[in-house]
Every structure is written in C-alpha cells, then in structure tokens.
Symmetry: C2
C-alpha cells in the first residue's frame, strides 16, 4: 500500500500497470532484461518508462512492493486459519499458483527481493509457518518435515509447476493438478 500522490488518473494508472506487468514478464524470462526490453514488452517508449520510474532501481522497488501486495492478497484469500490444515494448504497453493510469472521472478531473482521489507518474515510467511505447526499438532502433516522445509518445498513445487508449463508445454490446469497432488503427498502424515 503505497500512496501515489495525486491519485493517478485513469490513463496513468493503466500505463503504470502495463509497465509493471511487462517488467514481471520480461524479468522472469531474463533477469538481465534492459529497460528497453521492458518498455517494448509493455508496448511503450523507453522515455515513458522513465517518466513513471525515474531510475531502474525505482522500478524494481515498485515491483517488489507490488509483489508484496499480491502475495498479501493471495494469502488473505487462502484463509489459512479456517478449516482443516491440509485443505488450507491446498487453497494456499492454488492462490499462489495464480501469481504466475511473478512466482518465477521471485524465485529466479532472490537478491531482487532482498529489500528490507522481505528481510523479516512477511505476514504470509508467518501465517504459513503457523499453519504447518497446526498441521503437526493435529497430526495431519508429517512431523519430520519442519515448517521451514515445508515452505521451501511448496515454493519449489509451485516453481516446478510453471516450469512444466513453460518447458514441457503442459496446460496451466494440468500443471496445477500435478502440483497439488505432489504437495499433498509430500506433506501428508
């Protein structure tokens, strides 16, 4: 939630989003994408990119904030506190899967998301770790697997799912089904 001064008019907000989305798409495919590449992907002039984000680092910062927002939203939608831990885990998985390219970017560019905000566990992270602890307590998740490891596993399998789409031409749906099945089996008691 960043205040953007004069409440961005329609056109500005739209262009801003186009640039951010294009940046995620381009950077997720090649973390070394130039601003020119990103501008082209957004269907916009390089000058315009600079109009919205003075420096490259500003764009990356905005990207990082946007990612945090999206993750927070996905986390809320997953309602980790409600229902059985395993069902909650599946909801979480489905929600995060929808992040798409953003997922690949976060994964491939760890140092991009090394800002202070990510340093301390994000709200979603903490919720997730608590969920696994609850799963342990209720005896529905493998106690041999620490919450931190389950977290690593989940992100890795989400990444694997999108790689499956990109590299093996799998459908988004099939990839999600495989991912969910694999996650469920991995974590099960």
């Amino acid at each position: 939630m960043v205040v953007d001064g004069p409440a961005e008019t329609g056109a500005r907000a739209r262009t801003r989003r186009a640039i951010l989305d294009a940046a995620v798409s381009a950077l997720s495919r090649d973390p070394a994408s130039s601003l020119g590449d990103i501008a082209a992907a957004a269907g916009v002039g390089r000058t315009t990119v600079h109009r919205y984000f003075a420096e490259r680092s500003d764009l990356l910062q905005a990207l990082s904030n946007d990612a945090l927002d999206k993750i927070a939203v996905a986390n809320e939608r997953a309602r980790l506190g409600e229902g059985g831990p395993v069902e909650a885990l599946e909801r979480f998985c489905k929600e995060m899967f929808e992040l798409g390219d953003l997922l690949m970017l976060i994964f491939n560019d760890p140092q991009l998301m090394a800002c202070p905000e990510w340093e301390e566990y994000t709200e979603a992270d903490r919720d997730f770790l608590r969920l696994v602890e609850r799963g342990h307590a209720e005896g529905v998740m493998d106690r041999e697997l620490s919450p931190e490891w389950v977290q690593q596993t989940l992100w890795a399998l989400l990444y694997a799912a999108w790689s499956h789409v990109r590299e093996n031409g799998a459908s988004k749906f099939d990839a999600l089904v495989l991912c969910l099945r694999t996650v469920r089996k991995s974590i099960a008691t």
Copy 2:
C-alpha cells in the same frame, strides 16, 4: 570431455579450475556478476581471467561444458539401470545433490544453459525419464505423475534443499535427508 590442446600444465589447470569454480559460486548467487567479481572470488586478477577465457561468452561456454561433464559423471555414478527404481532414484538424488552451487546456477540461469548441447535431452535426462517409466511399469511409482513432471519435481526439490541450507542455515546433511524423504513420498505409488 573437451580436449584442451597442450594438456595444461599443473598451475594452469589449477587456476582454470579455480576460475570455473568461483564463477559457479558467484553466478549462482548473482547471475549478473561481473568478470571482476568472479576474478575476485577466484582470488585472481581480472587480466588472468581473460588469459584463460578471452571473452565472457567463452567462460560461460566452458562453464556449460563443465556442468554437462559433472552431470554426466553424477549420472553414471547413480547407475540408474541397476536395482529397484526407487533405490535408483534415491542414488540419483544423492549424486545430483552433490553438485551444490552448480545446481542453483543451472536453475537460476536457464538461458545460460540454453546452448545447443542442452537443447536435445542430455544423456542423463533420457536415462532419468526411462527410470520413471520403469518405475511406472513395476508399479512402484505414481502413474499419475508423468516422467517429465517427476523430473521437474526432483530438480525443484534439490533446489529447495540447497535453499534450505542457504536461507534457513540448515546443515547439508539435514537438507539432503529432508529432500530424500520428500522425494520418496512424492513419487511413491
């Protein structure tokens, strides 16, 4: 296996290795590392790097070849054809885990390993897919999971294991144990 002309004297071979190893280490942490960074990591002058690899692309090419060699060696050591499919899968997992940083690099820099050699399935890849097919045939691996997906899963979990070491400070041993357990459960019938 690349022939290197005049059979490299001891010192040259040692320096060459140091540079390659440092490159893997540096690039796995930041794919945008400069040659200066890599030289520093290798404890060597930037000039010396250029003496061994005229251009950056030459270094990357050598890195790619080196990776292919190491994977091929690990693959042979795993003897995928021998014994039960599940045991073979575990051997494979252990061998590949030893690739360490190289694993992270291959994962984080897919376009680096997009050379012609990687284009068509590498020997190890083909062996692996056959192994999963054998697992399916013998009924010891989940038939709902295609060989390609199992492959994605395995690499993703190996990556997760090393991330667990880097980010959560887990020991190499613990990470491998968790990884093996998770792989076994994921793939099991």
